[in-house]
Symmetry: C2
Subunit: 240 residues, 2 copies
């Protein structure tokens, strides 16, 4: 139950414009609707380009309008950890709201468009905005906790499957097909997010494909047997 509310991670965007079974314009888009009357600064970014980096002066909040992004934290000694993948409707920079500088790196994984939100003005002039921001902050915490649970208690296969389900669910929310996933990150990035090596990610995907549960063609993955994948989650619950 908690899980349903929490799980999240990944995106794929412009292709696959099929109709979703559940309709469009979900929670994710509510911020966009809220901001329709505002003249927002837009910013285009290309793949591998940083939106901002930890330590830079915080100018604004960014609302993802298109494209895929990764957020990451880095330690002094260079260890990096991808904390999430962001897509349309996600807000970037929230985690530094109380700071003068950004607290994480955000990199575009493909070309995308961002809307620059002037936080202070929106907060003061748009009453629902503050509330929305609070909700987004809280849900980010729950999402993080959910991933901590996943990474801390599940084995490699189950982590990957959890990721695939989460990505599929997010895509579906945006109106895309939940069965054809276009990964925008490398195996290494996926592995980093899941606390696995890139080789392990590859092996898991191959394994799942061999069992007929998914189809893998590079970064294009299709989900063939949802129940089978659910079984993977239920079965060998490694650890603890």
């Amino acid at each position: 139950m908690l899980l349903d509310a929490l799980q999240r991670s990944e995106p794929s965007n412009e292709p696959y414009l099929e109709a979703s079974t559940t309709g469009r314009a979900h929670e994710t888009h509510s911020l966009e609707r809220l901001l329709q009357a505002w003249p927002l600064q837009r910013r285009r970014v290309c793949a591998k380009q940083y939106v901002f980096r930890a330590g830079q002066a915080r100018h604004a909040l960014y609302l993802v309008h298109a494209g895929f992004f990764k957020t990451a934290v880095v330690s002094e000694d260079g260890r990096e950890k991808i904390t999430g993948f962001r897509m349309r409707g996600d807000l970037l920079g929230l985690d530094a709201l109380d700071m003068p500088t950004y607290a994480c790196d955000v990199m575009a994984l493909d070309t995308g468009e961002l809307w620059e939100l002037p936080y202070a003005r929106l907060r003061d002039e748009l009453p629902q905005f503050q509330e929305r921001v609070t909700a987004l902050l809280a849900s980010e915490i729950r999402r993080d906790w959910s991933w901590m649970l996943t990474l801390g208690t599940l084995g490699a296969d189950q982590r990957v499957v959890t990721f695939l389900f989460d990505l599929a669910s997010r895509l579906e929310q945006l109106g895309f097909s939940p069965n054809r996933l276009q990964l925008r990150m490398t195996r290494a990035e996926l592995g980093n997010f899941l606390s696995l090596t890139l080789e392990t990610v590859t092996r898991v995907l191959s394994r799942l494909q061999a069992r007929g549960l998914i189809g893998v063609a590079g970064r294009e993955i299709c989900i063939k047997d949802r129940n089978g994948l659910q079984t993977v989650l239920r079965d060998n619950t490694a650890y603890h």
Copy 2:
């Protein structure tokens, strides 16, 4: 740099009332000062007692005034993950601000006192409160990310050392000695938080003690050689 701002996890409370070198009344206590004029409902809890559990109707926010607590999420199939240890100055229930029910379990690890904060009223009547809550939410996210980094990229020894440093730092902020740590959680709980087994935690502590870096007597741990411990962190940076 990021790390310093982020790391956090653990507490120990009433004993060790030594003077801290850095003075008192830090950021952590600012909420208490802010609330001095308010008549707050207080609640006493005993060890092993739940403050609230995930799914229960959300009544209020709780400010920890005394005692130690653990927050945990649980999946449908019973996997549990401790997401943090909370002490004086921490706010409980923040992660569910936008929900009708709590999103995690909170259990007292010893006797403690909580102050019940009526969120809606405080938000409306105390302007600085909203701001404070936002800051706390954001810093919880950064803290979570920092632990994700630690758990995802460091080996067992380094996780435990990171934990000890974090705990020591938090204790110092509260005015206690940063060198004598009274753990309030079992090895199993510590292991759960660090994504290790209780046996591994025990072994690491024994190992560090054998090297003369710390002293271990059950749940009482004293830090003997900070530099030596720093070395552990620098050295064998396992993984990736």
